[in-house]
Symmetry: D2
């Protein structure tokens, strides 16, 4: 043990870390894991503030082990985040690496952050950690943050059931997911939804209404519809944030509110919408996400320590493994087969 410690000191590394993109439960667990693993191996961690913005601006904070005490259950990220990109500023990135004498770098983020990380990985010693509540990153069985988002959305659906049943009405739950329907699918399955609408499969609003009416015909006077924010109607009747009325004023609400109006008109049943929004991505992480994020953070640090750059920590079966960073750049959508299987649970 003592020898190992000596050895560790000899090859001690200084490692940067940033968290980029949207908020995601588990970010602080990753940071804590990286710092604790580094501490055990004699490495130093320096945090960059507000994602790639901290790299561009040179905004850093030292992260000794005391700095991460107590952050495990906290939502958000102690490093802050942003959607800025460093891709067009490789010289600045290089300067920061030199200024900070970095031996390695850990980029924690979603598609955007990891795309940038992959681009820079040819030139810089980078390891990635996939992060998105949407679960839409390839290369890993699952991303942290997703379980928390599903947990919150499913809890909301649970609560709606008794109201729907007691009052015979349609209840719509709009959940996150611009491109991928994973949250809608899993929250819908967990909550026992009757209809699940995802971006991967544009829907026909007449079909949705028909399903609701068919349920009524079977004596079920209520329906619960889960819709991903990025789901679209087949006939192009999508209501987006950008759509305006004839006077140029923006239409309020998203796909959930649009469906509310359509279903109320088509089924002649009281219809109400719930928009969970950022509640799904803030706050403390579930135990599942805390463990997954911790294990990924530890693996990412060890990857840097072992100089296995250009990789990403990933869940593969029961293990955390390293996969090429490039894998993260392929979007992970819900496969057709899973949507077909889900039919057994609907209606």
């Amino acid at each position: 043990m003592r020898d190992a410690a000596v050895l560790a000191k000899l090859r001690a590394m200084r490692i940067g870390i940033l968290t980029g993109g949207g908020d995601c439960p588990g970010l602080n667990a990753v940071i804590r894991a990286v710092v604790r693993s580094a501490h055990l191996h004699g490495d130093e961690i320096v945090g960059f503030r507000d994602g790639w913005g901290g790299v561009l601006d040179g905004a850093t904070v030292e992260l000794p082990i005391e700095r991460v005490a107590g952050i495990l259950p906290r939502g958000g990220t102690i490093l802050g985040t942003s959607r800025r990109s460093a891709l067009e500023h490789r010289d600045v990135v290089r300067r920061r690496f030199e200024e900070q004498r970095l031996d390695g770098f850990i980029a924690v983020g979603g598609n955007g952050t990891l795309f940038a990380a992959n681009e820079l990985a040819g030139e810089f010693p980078i390891v990635g950690v996939p992060k998105t509540i949407d679960n839409d990153i390839s290369g890993t069985d699952r991303t942290f943050g997703f379980d928390t988002a599903v947990h919150i959305a499913a809890a909301a659906i649970d609560r709606l059931h008794t109201t729907a049943e007691s009052h015979y009405r349609n209840l719509i739950v709009e959940v996150m997911g611009r491109n991928a329907g994973w949250i809608a699918l899993h929250a819908g399955l967990a909550g026992g939804a009757d209809v699940i609408l995802v971006p991967e499969r544009p829907f026909d609003v007449a079909d949705v209404a028909a399903r609701v009416l068919a349920r009524r015909g079977r004596g079920r006077g209520f329906s619960i519809i889960v819709v991903a924010e990025g789901a679209t109607a087949k006939d192009g009747e999508l209501v987006t944030k950008g759509r305006t009325d004839p006077l140029g004023r923006p239409l309020l609400g998203g796909i959930g509110h649009w469906l509310e109006g359509e279903l109320e008109a088509r089924t002649r049943a009281e219809t109400r919408v719930v928009v969970l929004g950022h509640v799904q991505r803030g706050g403390t992480a579930t135990a599942y996400d805390r463990v997954l994020a911790s294990r990924m953070g530890q693996r990412a640090h060890l990857a840097v320590h072992e100089r296995r750059f250009g990789t990403m920590a990933a869940l593969r079966g029961p293990r955390i493994e390293l996969v090429p960073l490039a894998e993260a750049t392929v979007p992970n959508l819900v496969p057709d087969e899973e949507l077909d299987l889900a039919e057994a649970f609907l209606g």
Copy 2:
């Protein structure tokens, strides 16, 4: 004890019960309490389905003690509910009382149901139980269902804090409360909101924006705004469900979405809205509401048993007491003084 049982049998009563108005966590706890208390005293309970609708249509269900096993933690009401009124049909009410040989009647409901109950109380042996998540019924310190609604809304606000702080944005939470701001006030206080907007005090959207900007000036780049669905802007710029665009199409979304647009424009900060909707009124009740509802249900049965008609079970300090039903017909709004005191916790 045996004598008491004999006595109870001698004066055994047959008592009707209905639950009216919107869904409210705790309804099943009331029904269970009435049935269990009646069982102990040798009385019979008959339930009327779907609120006053069950009285009009003669839709009833016997409620022996076995029927209420396991319903305590369940949301909704096993009797169903509706917003129909029996006020114009006193002859039908009389017929039901005769058909069912009712010695007493328990009406569990909100303003509408209790108003009807009070009107009928001159003619029929009625006892009321106040029920509303909005806490806007006078005569009782608090109504059951309110604690659950506040609990859910406050949990959502808790989750938003970390996202707001990590990302420097405005987050709006639209909560229930058409006429009274109790939910907004308590959820906002419990969640540490920066601005709370209630129906009792029309707001000036420029003031709200100014508060947000003032916070930014103090280094707080984020704000959390809680708005009751019934809150209105002073200058009449209220967006309601009924408002349409120039082509006659309804505008989507409520006050929350309207504020989202206004604040984004006025503060030039990303602004997002959460609409909790029926999640606040469905599902299992908090322990507080289960105990309150159980105690009120028991008191209501005992009131009937003691022939103290024309009264309502009410929380008064630590005790459940009987108050005149008429008290329930006065709306309970948030007093000015409480809104003033809340200022200490805002911004």
Copy 3:
């Protein structure tokens, strides 16, 4: 408003605060409320660390408004606490008041702390805030922390129901409450327990077993028993922490484990025990407790500001009022009548 601010500055006070006794959800909400209310009125707050210990040792911390940002949802107390007493050291108390130039003092605590506060109130300008998860302080309808403890215990009982029902066994839940059975009573009512054992009414274990067997006779093969840690068996068969076996080794476990053995032997049904312990008094407070604690903290500051010393903030109906500190020194036990009423919900 500006005039008020000027006035406030003129009469600005310096006020001490301490939190004493056991942990209790809502303590940080009280501290935050005191500090925010003081800030609004131009007063200064200084915190004493670790209860009366901080007064004895002179361990203080200034509490400007920035210091209380973000503490509302956090369990514990940022001031720390202890069970030390200052009663025998009035000269030290006097010295601290002089050193710190205190114009007033807020003592937040349970029976012990408030007893001391009341004793010192003749000599020093003190205001109290009642604090106990046990709800056993008189003068207030309810204490903060109690709702959280009940919430947690009731959630545990909820979970046990399905296991009890699927497996036909007895499940015992030992909850807090050394002298008062409020937590056992309310958690038992909220969770639908079959037997509730409280310190106020010593029980006969043969009766408990008979109840369980009677349920079995009615086709209910399972029972859930809630027992307060301070409940005692009539025949003196109480197992306490202090009891030892014949070799002088301490017997393990409390009343819950003792009941487990007794009931398994007497009912010949598998019996299991859950000991919730400190889970009931740690962690974030419920929305109810946060609001109650915040209102009490604010009222306590205003009481000092108005020089209404020797009082305590108390919940009276829907309002927070001031009552004489002396009222807090009378224990608040569950009245016989409430225990009798609870019978309707048991078995």
Copy 4:
């Protein structure tokens, strides 16, 4: 689609199902999934009551799709369960298969149930579904019920942190896990425990005390210790349920209470224990477990439908696959490597 329906009808099967062993969140989700998938494919499901007991006694219940409405969020199992075995009664099993004209059988259970299922699989058309909160079944990445158990235990640990920190004491959490430490490990990691004791690695109580004291030396006056019920002390000082005092009376409490006494004596710090017991295995399942259980149930039905007997539904990466039933008979313990990696997060 219509052709498929016709085809399905032609080859309609009658399939038995049982749930065996201890309670486990997700059982009703499995039953519902089997029934819904069967309904879609024109198959009939018949449930056997109380595990293998229902096979021995011939206690069955038809399970049309209406029977599983609303059971998804409910804990327990609508079929009941028991620990009886049919292994010695193959003739009875055969008789039931004939009586009920079964074309296939789904056994949902843990080590015991699946061992029996595997033994019988040579003779009968059986498919298994692994079920255990302990996660100690091989062949699948994870079992349903585990996430719920970890979720509950981690939530308890979260609550203990603030009490531990405010009061400088040791808090012990005894969690389930007789043979495997998965719950202790994951709950401990998710909750940020300082010491985790598992059955796979007998501990030295002097080492545990030394860790606690070392933390104190680093200014951390509190420690949180998670101990699996099946963890043992190296020196054989294990306290089991069976151990008695010199008068032959059973010692109360388990390993948690034993540790409480030892640590209090060795660290001279107040030490308290929490025994979560059956709270971990009762009640509603997490969203994760509901989805996993639903997918496994559906896969098990499809396996029967496709006559792939002798298999078990298993999570493999992101997919549900079929593995030989025999794989389930190998216990899945926490590997040394994972325990070593966990060290980075402790102390």
